[in-house]
């Protein structure tokens, strides 16, 4: 009960963002499926977006003048849009890779290894 009875602050959002971020990073680091890596990227971007929103929100701040205002939401918008673009391109690349190699295992894509 006492957990729900205290107003939410920025830190809460930051914690959630951190968790998602780390999950995404680790997913990127451990998934062998290219699409899995993509999902990890999406998670990472969302974690970052959460931080932006939190910093820009006036609901979460005790003194609203200290926020970064709308910039947070605007940047979040840009992040979302660019993430969409990135997803499209990455998916196209993956499909291409799949057409050529017959697999989406990123560990197989090591032609450029030193």
């Amino acid at each position: 009960m006492s957990l729900f009875s205290q107003p939410v602050g920025v830190s809460h959002y930051l914690v959630v963002g951190a968790v998602m971020f780390v999950c995404g990073v680790v997913a990127m680091a451990t998934k062998r499926n290219a699409l899995g890596v993509l999902m990890g990227i999406e998670l990472v971007l969302n974690g970052a977006n959460l931080n932006f929103i939190a910093f820009g929100s006036q609901i979460l701040h005790r003194e609203p003048a200290r926020t970064i205002g709308l910039d947070g939401q605007l940047i979040a918008l840009f992040v979302i849009v660019l993430a969409a673009a990135e997803a499209a391109i990455a998916l196209a690349i993956t499909l291409n890779f799949y057409n050529n190699q017959g697999t989406v295992d990123v560990d197989r894509a090591d032609d450029l290894s030193g």
């Binding site: 009960m1 107003p7 809460h12 930051l14 062998r32 999406e42 005790r62 205002g69 918008l77 690349i93």
Partner: protein
């Protein structure tokens, strides 16, 4: 009386729980399709968090573009490349351990940073009227009604004007030098739109069929 529940907080915890749990689920699942599904839920919950933070447009955007667009694309790709060996690819456990260590350290760092400032740890208190039964029409009720957590957020127009180069949220700032710094986002907006166009064309080119459809 016991301290009442703040629904805002409640829903925050609900959504954040969903987000985190399904993020971890995404991480630990090896079935790619399930990963996609969990990701959908996680991102949807993130959209909910956005709504709670007063960013209704961004939340809708999240739902529309991310969940409705990007993830559908993703699942599309999943299905296109769905072969039984590819559905679940085994990752050697050594990497799991390594990833756990590295991710844990990163998480530790991030949490340490996130929790360090005092001012961030709690939001503004509710008005005292929230803890008692108030008469309708009284100033207390009005103050309660004015609390942003109890009101629908109104950011769409501001954001639109911001993207058009007008920062209406900074109108109250008197200092002209500070006003000068609060520029809009018209140019990035245009750049991003052009970038999107290019990306779509490029994606279509990359993913086009290798054979010519005879029609």
């Amino acid at each position: 009386m016991q301290s009442p529940i703040i629904w805002h907080t409640f829903f925050f915890f609900l959504f954040s729980f969903l987000a985190c749990v399904f993020a971890v689920a995404v991480l630990v699942t090896s079935n790619i399709v399930r990963m996609a599904f969990f990701l959908v839920i996680s991102l949807g919950s993130t959209a909910g968090l956005f709504f709670l933070a007063g960013a209704d447009l961004v939340g809708s955007m999240q739902l529309m573009i991310y969940v409705g667009g990007t993830l559908v694309l993703l699942i599309f790709g999943v299905m296109l490349t769905a072969r039984s060996p590819l559905i679940s690819m085994h990752t050697p456990s050594g990497e799991w351990i390594l990833g756990a260590i590295v991710g844990g350290s990163l998480l530790a760092v991030l949490l340490q940073i996130a929790l360090s400032p005092k001012a961030w740890q709690q939001g503004p208190e509710l008005p005292p009227a929230a803890y008692t039964a108030v008469e309708a029409g009284t100033p207390a009720a009005a103050e309660l009604a004015r609390d942003p957590r109890l009101r629908p957020p109104q950011t769409a127009t501001k954001l639109g004007l911001g993207l058009l180069g007008e920062r209406v949220d900074k109108l109250v700032v008197q200092d002209p030098t500070r006003r000068a710094g609060m520029s809009g986002y018209l140019l990035p907006f245009e750049i991003v739109s052009v970038h999107l166009l290019v990306v779509l064309v490029g994606a279509a080119y990359l993913a086009r069929a290798r054979f010519r459809v005879s029609d």
